[in-house]
Amino acid sequence: MSILIIAEHDNTSLKPATLSTISAAKAIGGDIDILVAGAGVDAVATQCAAIDGITKILTVDSADLSHPLAEALTPVIVKAADGYTHILAPATSFGKNTLPRVAALLDVQQISDITKVIDDDTFERPVYAGNAIATVKSSDAVKVITVRGSAFDAASAEGGSASVSALDGAEGLGVQDKASFVSQELSVSDRPELTSASVVVSGGRGVGSAENFAIIEALADKLGGAVGASRAAVDAGYVPNDYQVGQTGKIVAPDLYIAVGISGAIQHLAGMKDSKVIVAINSDEDAPIFQVADYGLVMDLFEAVPQLTEKV
């Protein structure tokens, strides 16, 4: 078995989701190499070389890859894929955007969002918003897989000494004229990243407004946690889109998840029900969220949350 991991990075540092993907690769077994494609990726390559258990880092360094456009990355990854039995990427917006293009060109049916490795060709993945778990066995020659970060521990970022070399024959592969990057508007925050935080405090429609979200943020800050939200809170404009937790948002599994003013729709539960401890604060004692909560507090959130922040 030989596995190629597609590193997710911003040309400066490696995104933590890649480390979880590496743990999934280790569960498959075999040699693990990492592809670092981007512009000015030396620092990222060095970081990857230090990860425990990696054989080889392949780099493709080109101004054409300064933004991770799927159209530009796909031919590069397809070129790098030659000879590997498995191609893995994190199931983040980056991996979801790019890897199916690679799979299609390799004529492979991708396996999305795996949560468990059974053996080298059989994997578990949640379907129907996590209300069913499918065990699937691939008959494709190459397995193209995205990995759910919350389902695998991060591999150790230290202790490795992989070789670093440029991928041969990749010159010019990232050139394309059909898609171009225009701009981005990234949320800036000092809080831990939502999908890897050990504490997440999420607010829903019950929070009522963008201003009121300050009480959710205050509690998160006191606990050193990240802030999440339900779709309803995002749709209403209380918080940016990248706060959405759920089936079609981010999947989180922190040690402590506090759901505030969230009813507990299956689409929301899909994104947080693997958290270790779940707390629900809701004024409706029949809210479905209480069915998954370890500790439920039936109380007005405007009373409960400030008290909690003060006393914690």
């Binding site: 980056f94 199916p100 299609a104 069913a132 059909k178 889109n241 079609t248 500790y295 008290q307």
Partner: protein, 254 residues
């Protein structure tokens, strides 16, 4: 401009699904079925482009059982001009027609119809694959704007704002292109009774797997489908102090 909108028949998002007791799949008999919600958003966007005079024709396509005609009729009622059903007896949620086969089928239809834009869902809420649009983009060698929260067309270009993990990103695509929808792109309209009546007269063509020249044979064998372990029921606490006590001394998470 011709727009293609693929629509998938899926279990309605409000249904709490049940896994079959023999673990071969999910119970679909007597379950409410709907258009995949992301495909409704795609249809709405296409219809708005037609209303704005940008689009000339909207073609809705579904690969699925004969009953997917229901979803295609809804698509026609929402404003699609005609519909194509690629009829199959194979499952379309698990263990049957997979995203790669769907993408190949859509490619053949897009090429035959000569469409300029494909707007489709980012994800089916049954298989949760999030693959088909990207695969179709690669097979056609078209650019893609996935997870779109805004779409603007100008000349031969599409400007797409995408919902990404860190926030928002805008890309510019040269048409023909593929856009996959996210939740914030628009709010789909409700279909009105007169539109449902009108939709009955709109053309709905049926093709078979053989007509498309694409094999629907699955690449993934579904070994089993199981119910995830349920969380054991928790308790209710009656005050903030009691909650804090539990979190500190019982759960030991703070």
């Amino acid at each position: 401009m011709k727009i293609l909108v693929p629509v998938k028949r899926v279990v309605d998002y409000n249904v709490k699904i049940r896994v079959k007791s023999d673990e071969t799949g999910v119970e679909l008999a007597n379950v409410k079925m709907s258009i995949n919600p992301f495909d409704e958003i795609a249809l709405e966007e296409a219809v708005r482009l037609k209303e704005a005079g940008t689009a000339s024709e909207i073609i809705a396509v579904s690969i699925g059982p004969d009953k997917a005609q229901e979803q295609l009729r809804t698509a026609l009622a929402m404003g699609a001009d005609r519909a194509i059903l690629v009829s199959t007896d194979k499952a379309i949620d698990l263990g049957g027609v997979e995203p790669l086969a769907v993408a190949k089928t859509l490619k053949s239809i897009a090429e035959k119809e000569g469409v300029d834009l494909i707007i489709m869902g980012k994800q089916s809420i049954d298989d949760d694959s999030n693959q088909t649009g990207q695969m179709l983009g690669a097979l056609l060698d078209w650019p893609q704007g996935t997870f779109a929260s805004e779409l603007k067309l100008d000349g031969g270009k599409a400007s797409v704002t995408r919902e990404i993990d860190g926030g928002l990103e805008t890309v510019s695509l040269t048409l023909p292109a593929i856009v996959t929808t996210d939740l914030r792109l628009n709010e789909p309209r409700y279909v009105k009774l007169p539109d449902i009546m009108k939709a009955k007269k709109k053309p709905l063509e049926t093709l078979s797997e053989d007509d498309t020249g694409v094999s629907f044979a699955p690449r993934l064998e579904v070994v089993k489908v199981s119910t995830p372990p349920a969380r054991s029921g928790g308790i209710k606490v009656d005050s903030v102090d009691a909650l804090l006590d539990k979190l500190k001394n019982e759960a030991k998470v703070i």
